[in-house]
Each structure stands twice: as C-alpha cells, then as structure tokens.
Amino acid sequence: MNTFGDPTIWLPFVFAGLMGLSILIYVVLDGFDLGVGVLFPFADDAEKDRMIATIGPFWDANETWLVLAVGLLLVAFPAAHGTILTALYLPVAIMLVGLILRGVAFEFRAKAPAPHKHLWNNAFFAGSLMTSLSQGFMLGMYIMGLEWTLVHAAFSLLTAVFLTVGYSFIGATWVIHKTDAGLQRKAVGWAKGGIWGLVLGIALVSMATPLVSTRIFEKWFSWPEALLLSPLPILSALLVFGLWSMLRRMPFMNDRLSWLPFAAASMLWVMAFVGMAYSFYPYVVPEKLTIYEAASAPESLFIILIGTLFVLPTILAYTVLAYTVFRGKATELRYD
C-alpha cells in the first residue's frame, strides 16, 4: 500500500480526481439531456418527440454519473458530504424533485393516454428546469463558500440562470448533431441564443472566484502560477470564437461536421471545470475542509479503489458501446 508514498496523501487525491471526473462527465452528458428539456417550450409536438428520441437511450446512464459523483463524495469524503449537503438542503430537495419529474416523464409521456401527453411534456420541462436552476444555484453557493447571505443568494440566482442557459446551449448542439432538416436549423438558432449564457456564466464565475478568496486570487494572479492558468482563458476564447463563427454558417452541406459544435461545447465545459478544480484544490468544502482532512480511512479508500479500477474502464467501454449502437441521427425509438 505504501508503494506510491503516503496513502493518506495520494488516496484522497486520486478520489478527488475521480469525483471531479464524474462531475465533469455528468455536467456534459446530463447537461445536454437537461438542456433538451429546457428547450422543450420552443419546439412543436413532433419536434418534442424527436428531441426525446435524441436522448432516450442515454439519459438514464448519464444521470448515473451524478449518483457516482455524490456516491464518491459520500464514501470518500464523508465529513464533506454532510457539510455540503446540509448547507444546500433546499436546493438539493428542489433538484431531487426535478430529477424525479424529468426521469419519470420520459416513460409516462410515451405510455400515458394521448390527452395526458402534454401534461407529461410539461412535467419533463419543469423537471429539467428545476434541476438545472438548482444545480446552478448550488454552484453559486459553493463558490461563495456555502454561507447563506443575501448577496450570496443573489449571486447564486445569477449562476442558476447562466448554468441553465449553458445547459440549453449544449443541449442545442446535441440536437444539431442528432437531427436534421427543420429541427436541426431550429437548434442552430437555439445554440446561437444559448452560447451567451455560457460565456456570461463563465465570465461571472471567473470574476467572482478570485474575489471571494485571497488564496485563489494569489493562485491566479501571482507569477509564475498565472502562466499555468493562462492556456485556459485563451483556449476558451478561441473555442467561443470558433463556435460562434461556425454556428453562423450551419448546417453545412451533407450534414458535414454536425458533431463539431457539441464537441467544442464539451471542450468549453472541460475548460471551465478545470479552472474551477484548479482554483479550489485542495479544498472540498471551500476554504474550510481539505480533501485530506475530509477523507475516509486509507484502508477503506483502498478497498473502494480496487473496485473502481476494475469498474471505471468497463463503464467507459459500455458507454462507448451504447453510444455506438445508437449513433447517427435519432430515429424512432422502438421497444421491439
């Protein structure tokens, strides 16, 4: 167990990395599911069906990354799990109700009698919206150090709106990739409208984060650390610029490059996430509890790690398989 040095150091680090990875994968994958839900009111009935078909085979597995992320927080950093979730009691409850509505609406809207279908469409939208908003609110509260003040709540409301618009943006790029004709053109429009939410959101978070903590301020603006961080804003700006100029001319002939906006949008999320992870490390509860203080006993972490090392690659392989089986434009989902 001591092959790699002190297990009380590297085990929490590895688990923080795994947890971060799960959150990142969740935000990208379920982000597009939720975004599709948030965009629902802008689509007509036939388009709604097709939009559902673009995420139908995936959403379940996508949502499971959230379970893994919270699960890792729970099992690897039990002290932090309690502190964070107790502080976020209400937004968590709203998110859970949202996730419930969104998840079951998938099934019910397809199975309930036709007159009830619009009710479940509304439930799908409301659930996606509640989930997105509360996740954005939690992001804001987390950045503000999990303390409830009026200013923090106001800031969190802003992040709630921006994250929701950001999700709708990545959702729109997914629809561009998975559909064609009229709906695809519509989705290009949605993406053009949504990209600003993401840009403003990233800008707001980037401005607020160093102001909240002098520690993070130091990390960002002292030499030579600033050099380490500099690729992030530069690459992000390039991505935004590339996305914008591409979206203006989409869709291309023969559906060329329809996957590119989604890929670029995902990269943008990765940038934003890496920036946050870099800023907050080594804290898991901002400025209060480090990953090393909050971690479970090394013996327990080691046991979990063994399982993780077998399971995580397998899960990734399964995920690739599922996305391969259901690749291409979304067609009618048939149970038979």
């Binding site: 078909a53 919270v70 039990p78 199975k111």
Partner: protein, 463 residues
C-alpha cells in the same frame, strides 16, 4: 430537535418506502424477462416475445421510477443523516460504492440496448444485455442488503476515536443476518412480480385480450408464485430465528411479548400498550410462539421488559408498529399462498390451463396484483422499526445521526415529496392498466417514445 428527528425519520421512511416498491419489481422482472427471451430464442414462438414486449415496458417504467427515487436516497444521507457516514462511513462507504459501481451502471448502461436495441444488435447481444441488466439489479440488491444487514448485525470492525474502522471485510459482508435477508428479499421480489404479472394478465384475460402471450405470462406467474411461496415461508422462519439470536428486542416486539417466560402464546390480535407495558384485548394460541421460535412447546423467549435500562431508558422499539406490520406481512403472505395454490390447482386440473380459472378467481388475482408490495413494505417496517432506537445495532442510535436542520424545513420538503410520490404512484398504476387495456384492444404499443422523423433519407445512417 425531537421534532426534526421524527420528521426526518418519516421523510426517510417515505422516500425509502416509495423507492423499494420499484426495485422490488425490477429485481425479479429482469430475470422473468430473460426467461421469456430465452424461451423465445429456443422455441421461436412469437408468444414469448409478445410477453417480453409488454413486460419490458413495465420494466422500463419501474426502472425509471427506481432510479429517480434511488438518487433521492443517496442525497438524503447527507442532507438529513450526516452522522451516519461520519461514524460508520469507513464501512458503509465501500459497500455503497460497490453498489453504485458494479450494479447501477451495469443496469443503466445496458438498459438502453435492452429496451431499444432489439432491431439494432444481434439477438444474442440483446439477450446478453437483458442478462446483464438482470444480473446488475441482483448485484445492486446484494450490496444494499449487505449494508442493511450490517446495520442490524454489525461485525468485523473496531471503534477508534468514535469512528468505526473495518478489520475483517469477509465478516462485514457475510454478517450473520445477510444470507437470510438477501434470500428473503429476492424471494419477495419474485413473489411481487409473480402476483403483478398474474394480476395484470388476469385483467387482460377478463377484458377479452386472450392472446397466447397473456396465457404464457399468466401461467408462468401463477406457477412461480405457488412454488416460491412455501420457500419464502421457510426462509422467513429462518430469518426470524436469526433475528431472535441477534436482535431479541425486535422479536419480542413482533410477538408483543413483554415479560421473559416460557410457554409463550402466538398472539393473533392485541393492542400493545407501551405505557402500561402490557397487551389489551389479547387473543392468542397457547405455546405456539415458543414452539415457532425455540422449536419446544415450553421454550423461553426474552420479553421486552429486559430491554429497559436501569435509568428507565427504553432500548427496544415502539411495540405497536412492529407488532402490526409483522401481522400484515404474515396475513398477506398467507393470502398469497392460498390464492396461488388454488389457482395452480385449477389450472392443473384436467390440464385445462388458463381456461380452468373461474371468473371469481381471476378477479381475486386482479385484486392481489400489488399484494407483494404490501407484504414487502410491512416486512421492511417490521425489521427497520424493530431495530430502533438503534441505527446501527449497538453502535449508534438514530438520534445521533440526524442533521440539525430546522423542523419546518424538513416538514416542507416532506410534504412536497409526499405530493410528488402520491401523484407518481397513481400515474404508475394507472398507466400499467392503461397499457393492459390498450393491448387487449389489439392496439400496438410496440412503438413508443417517438414517431419516425420527417428526415431526408440520406441523413439516416445505414443500419
């Protein structure tokens, strides 16, 4: 604080009660679907696929309900019970992690292929996906039952600075009550599913949907129930004996037995009075409880009064809820046994099959569609309330784990959960019978989720 504790307990109970309904269906339904699928592959008979296609939709619906309500659980550990993971996280953590990793993903990832992939992948891949979903669900059950059983009969750990540390993982996983609880729960799931399939198939039969698919589903379900009911009673008895050894206070509450004695009667009816510490209006069969619990007519059974500390602290659960939920479970179980045996007998008699079932019996099957849920919930209430005041038997109490969230906040979230759950449960049951009616009218429910896109032909990739 007392109010927060009580409200948090009710909220957790509401969440976990709602949640367990759906795994109870998916655990066994996955295997039943695999059985249908294998029979189809072997015989090529369309009726097996017809049964598969109908029940895979119920599976998808139940699975979605289970996933979303399960996520709620993993958050509530943190929002309402932070003390639990802080104290026993070193043991509960890895068990939960294995539950999430090996199982949840296996199910969720392959579910897409199982549900929508029949035409997209070779037959054996589809059967394989069905197997992996069923297997994943069972593994999920295994790890959760391991954790739950460890909370009842904790082993293989030591306390250092008030925190539990694992010393022997084999002892933790194969803790004394785990094998009994696991078998009891898996059987409960198979029985719940059997009665659901039997009930819905009987409903379809009654309203005129007399297809071959309904026939095989009904037969499979009734015979499975008739075979498994006696096994479940045997396993339940073994589980009870195990509980008597490790959690005698729970057994005393189940029996409504206050003072340690021999020749204990089996109480059929009573109103346990916690304040007076006695039963009112007791009706019992002499010596039978002694015989069941000790296999001797005059066997001594520990009473509840042995679990009151010198200073008057009560270290046993509230008696009435445990006493009554136990009786609801047993009563429902007996009804399930009788119905499945009578129905099997009628079908076997002169080999008449489903035609041999008289109308009242079909109505009874419809009425008992959700009997498995009632028995399962009653059983869980018996064992979980029976563990109180402990959260982890002898290690930490429930009161120690609760979060200091203001009571009105817990109340408001509790009410919103209850409203959502009430609506969803109604919709769930309604949709099952709606689909059954639709199928019986001969309408296609095969295509779902989305109609074909009005797409340019070249945009659809070749399959």
């Amino acid at each position: 604080m007392m109010e927060t504790l009580l409200l948090s307990r009710i909220q957790f109970a509401a969440n976990i009660s709602f949640h367990i309904l759906f795994p109870t269906i998916t655990i066994a339904l996955g295997w039943v679907l695999l059985f249908f699928k294998i029979r189809y592959s072997q015989t090529g008979q369309e009726r097996w696929m017809e049964a598969y296609r109908f029940w895979v939709k119920i599976f998808a619906l139940s699975f979605a309900m289970g996933v979303v309500s399960g996520i709620t659980m993993s958050f509530q550990f943190g929002t309402n019970w932070p003390g639990f993971m802080e104290k026993v996280g070193n043991i509960a953590g890895p068990l939960l992690a294995y539950e999430i990793m090996t199982a949840f993903f296996l199910e969720a990832v392959f579910l897409g292929i199982m549900l929508f992939g029949f035409r997209r992948v070779p037959n054996w891949v589809h059967t394989g996906a069905t197997f992996l979903v069923a297997f994943g669900t069972l593994m999920s059950t295994f790890w959760i039952i391991v954790l739950n059983s460890w909370m009842h009969t904790p082993q293989g750990f030591e306390m250092r600075d008030g925190v539990a540390h694992a010393t022997d993982w084999f002892a933790i996983i194969f803790n004394p009550s785990m094998p009994y609880r696991f078998a009891h729960m898996v059987l409960a799931s198979f029985l719940t599913v059997s009665f659901l399939i039997a009930g819905v198939s009987a409903f379809r039969w009654l309203i005129g949907g007399r297809t071959e698919g309904v026939r095989v589903a009904l037969k499979t379900a009734v015979f499975t129930a008739a075979l498994l009911m006696p096994v479940q009673i045997f396993v339940g008895d073994m589980h009870g004996l195990n509980t008597k050894e490790f959690q005698p206070a729970k057994v005393a509450a189940m029996e409504g037995h206050w003072e340690t004695s021999g020749n204990v009667p089996l109480i059929l009816f009573a109103l346990p009075d916690q304040e007076a510490r006695e039963n009112r209006f007791e009706i019992g069969i002499p010596n039978l409880a002694s015989f069941i619990l000790t296999h001797e007519w005059d066997g001594v059974v520990k009473g509840l009064n042995d679990f009151v500390a010198e200073d008057g602290t009560v270290l046993h659960p509230r008696v009435a809820p445990v006493f009554w939920s136990f009786r609801v479970m047993i009563g429902t179980g007996v009804a399930m046994l009788l119905l499945s045996w009578v129905a099997s007998f009628m079908m076997l008699r002169r080999k008449r099959g489903v035609e041999g079932l008289p109308k009242p019996l079909l109505y009874a099957l419809v009425g008992m569609s959700f009997s498995g849920w009632i028995a399962t919930l009653a059983g869980w209430y018996t064992t979980e309330i029976g563990r109180q005041p402990w959260l982890v038997q002898g290690v930490m109490t429930t009161a120690e784990a609760v979060a200091d969230v203001p009571a009105p906040m817990v109340l408001s979230t509790l009410i919103s959960y209850l409203i959502v759950y009430g609506l969803l449960l109604t919709a769930y049951i309604y949709v099952i019978f709606y689909l059954a009616r639709k199928m019986s009218r001969g309408e296609d429910i095969g295509t779902s989720i989305a109609p074909a896109p009005a797409a340019a032909p070249n945009a659809i990739p070749a399959e």
